[in-house]
Symmetry: C2
Subunit: 196 residues, 2 copies
């Protein structure tokens, strides 16, 4: 259902091909919800079968085609419904904390490497998310700008605020993860010291 929501939301700005959506899932939206082409293409066809999308074949060069999907009225109401229905957060499944809980079974180098990977990963993404947040706030993100053009001016404030708020949340998460990984490395140092 979440992929569906992401696709409906992306297509609510303007019609796009599966490939266009793939690009978006490798950048903006994909910074929050990743999906592979092997999942996107079949899902688009299913959504069309369900009446949420409609598609046209667009020629490209003399022989090739691409298929462009637009959201239908049914799709729009599905999007509004998904967006408006609160969902109970699911039971936690946190692979990093789980692994950390059984740290005693790891050799020290393995444990250290894990925290360092964790740190590097979230440091890298923190940068991405912060840049994205800045870009949107400055009105420089092309995907968001396309959306603004398609929507009435009265909505612009909300649209920008929502996107900035989402990426801000991603950044907070990253900062928390970085802090935690640093504490993990510090913990390994203490555990390496001989006991008093």
């Amino acid at each position: 259902m979440t992929l569906r929501f992401a696709l409906l939301a992306s297509l609510s700005a303007r019609p796009r091909t599966g490939y266009d959506l793939l690009q978006i899932f490798d950048s903006s939206v994909g910074f929050v919800w990743h999906a592979a082409h092997t999942q996107i293409y079949p899902e688009l066809r299913r959504m069309e079968a369900d009446g949420l999308l409609a598609s046209v074949e667009v020629p490209r060069g003399p022989k090739a085609h691409k298929r462009e999907y637009r959201i239908t009225d049914l799709g729009l109401s599905a999007l509004r419904q998904l967006a408006s229905t609160p969902v109970e957060p699911s039971p936690e499944k946190d692979p990093y904390r789980l692994k950390a809980a059984y740290l005693e079974w790891a050799d020290p180098e393995g444990a250290r490497a894990q925290f360092e990977l964790h740190l590097a990963h979230y440091a890298r993404w923190l940068k991405q998310w912060q840049e994205m947040q800045q870009r949107i706030a400055d009105g420089l993100d092309p995907v968001v700008n396309e959306r603004l053009e398609a929507r009435p001016a009265a909505e612009h404030r909300t649209i920008v605020a929502a996107k900035v708020f989402a990426y801000q949340g991603m950044s907070s998460r990253a900062e928390m993860e970085i802090e935690w990984a640093k504490q993990g490395l510090a913990l390994l140092d203490t555990l390496a010291e001989p006991q008093p």
Copy 2:
């Protein structure tokens, strides 16, 4: 693989039945990695087939039985291997931030209800995780204590520190989520005000 890790780790303290593990997955370990009985029972059988576990049938009453699993040497080395091998964090899939990014499609009450649910959920769990952390630090958690009894005293410091550190991470996550949800509610208030 993560469920396997969780099961191996749980069984490294002492032999247990599927039902025992279920209890644990409804409390301690399950506060970090949730799993249902429909997933646990078949996985235990597969792990036995793979030689990671061995089981015996234990009578209970005159007619009924239960099956108790213990970790084998192969299982122990699999556990050590899983614990020691660093894993690259996966691409982000964050349903909360995704939904927030398209807040403009939600009706205001729906959006508010979502943030309130989010807040209540993580407030509830923050309490659980903090209590668990305290209980372990104070040597009062029965599951951790069983583990300590089964392992040499030299490891005790590491075992307790790892568990406390994991639950500390869960708490940090919860605090971040609570803060974010509060900002979301505040954002909805600003958006409800008329523009200057």
